[in-house]
């Protein structure tokens, strides 16, 4: 089923939307979450939370690229879970600090939002300046969290070539961000 048709099902509050989403994107979402969390249980939880987030956000959202929209959600949830899990594992002060973060007022200022948007904007421009192959390798590694081996297989190139492309692209990104004066 096409993305637009699935989104229409969400808008119509038709539960078949979730089934179609699972069929089309379930494997991809599980892959992203598993790469980040390395735990089947946690990955399954994040993917289910993603379906719930998608159901709750449509309407009002109407994404053009449903796969990308869902990928961003599952990635964000997985990273948060990983960090929370990490704090729990470390225990002691880290766990207590984690609990206390809810006490800290949201100091998100206009300045921080502007900086975040500037960084996103710079990343978009940098990625568009790359050729298709380098862009693919970079996004598969740092957004989709694919392993070097998986990227090499999908591109039919050697692991060494993938590592070289990543090394050079990271250096190019550093130079780009320095040149643009983007604060991180």
């Amino acid at each position: 089923m096409e993305d637009l048709q699935i989104v229409d099902l969400y808008w119509a509050r038709n539960e078949n939307a979730l089934q179609q989403t699972k069929i089309k994107y379930g494997r991809m979402l599980t892959g992203i979450s598993l790469s980040l969390l390395q735990s089947n249980e946690d990955a399954e939880e994040c993917v289910n939370d993603t379906y719930l987030a998608a159901w709750n956000s449509m309407p009002t959202e109407r994404p053009t690229y449903l796969g990308a929209f869902l990928s961003k959600i599952v990635r964000r949830l997985s990273i948060s879970k990983h960090r929370a899990r990490g704090a729990q594992k470390r225990g002691g002060a880290d766990l207590l600090i984690g609990e206390l973060t809810s006490c800290i007022p949201d100091r998100r200022s206009v300045e921080t939002d502007v900086e975040n948007r500037a960084l996103t904007d710079a990343l978009n421009r940098f990625l568009r300046s790359l050729d298709e192959q380098k862009r693919y390798v970079f996004i598969r590694r740092y957004f989709y969290s694919d392993s070097v081996g998986d990227i090499a297989k999908s591109c039919r190139i050697s692991d060494g070539k993938v590592k070289t492309v990543l090394f050079r692209t990271r250096n190019a990104l550093r130079e780009f961000l320095e040149k643009e004066g983007v604060a991180i």
Binding site: L127, R140, Y142, R156
Partner: protein
């Protein structure tokens, strides 16, 4: 890694999650990686290398007469580029194709190593004597031209000179203690273009 740098890397990692949906969607399908294969353009550097070899073989008389045959003494032959010489050595069989694990940097034999076009292997051109290594060392950094970042980004292939005792340097890097590797074919960001003298010497090894 300092705490600040790690925190900044975390922020960058998070920000990658906010890039345009169209970029994420595009990466759902692998592009076709074009393998650099033999094409007509490879005949040009081979022809140039062959012409240079003929001129060298003809000696001083050829070097004096040919400019006058082609509209006067101010017509100067362009020296071959490092890329064309390495292509010629790869295609012509002067260098041996091998995998990284087959290259012994401690064999006691010096050589020049460069990446193959498809990134899957390497070419090795062994030097035949200590004298050749000594001459190569003399030309390695001498006369090298510094390049800017944009030119450096255009240099895709990596090349190393291995001394046979584990020491590895690159003609693409300035002479400095920090640019000497040991026991590995390290990746690098090019800083210089080697001199014509270095390229001519490599070319001489392949003829």
């Amino acid at each position: 890694m300092t705490y600040t740098k790690y925190a900044e890397a975390k922020r960058l990692f998070d920000s990658i999650g906010t890039i345009d949906d169209s970029l994420i969607a595009e990466a759902q399908n692998a592009p076709v990686f074009k393998q650099k294969g033999f094409s007509l353009k490879h005949l040009v550097p081979v022809a140039v290398a062959a012409c240079v070899a003929i001129f060298i073989g003809a000696g001083a008389l050829g070097a004096v007469l040919l400019p006058f045959m082609f509209n006067g003494a101010d017509k100067v032959e362009q020296p071959p580029t490092l890329e064309s010489v390495l292509n010629s050595a790869s295609q012509g069989g002067a260098a041996t194709y091998c995998k990284k694990e087959d290259i012994n940097l401690f064999s006691g034999k010096a050589g020049v190593v460069w990446e193959s076009d498809n990134g899957d292997g390497y070419y090795l051109l062994e030097l035949s004597s200590e004298r050749e290594l000594s001459e190569l060392k003399g030309r390695l950094h001498s006369g090298a031209q510094e390049i800017d970042a944009e030119t450096a980004r255009g240099i895709e292939s990596r090349i190393w000179v291995c001394f046979g005792d584990g020491t590895v340097v690159s003609p693409h890097l300035k002479a400095s203690a920090g640019n000497v590797g040991y026991g590995e074919l390290f990746d690098y960001s090019p800083e210089v273009i080697p001199s014509n003298g270095f390229v001519a010497f490599i070319n001489g090894l392949t003829v």
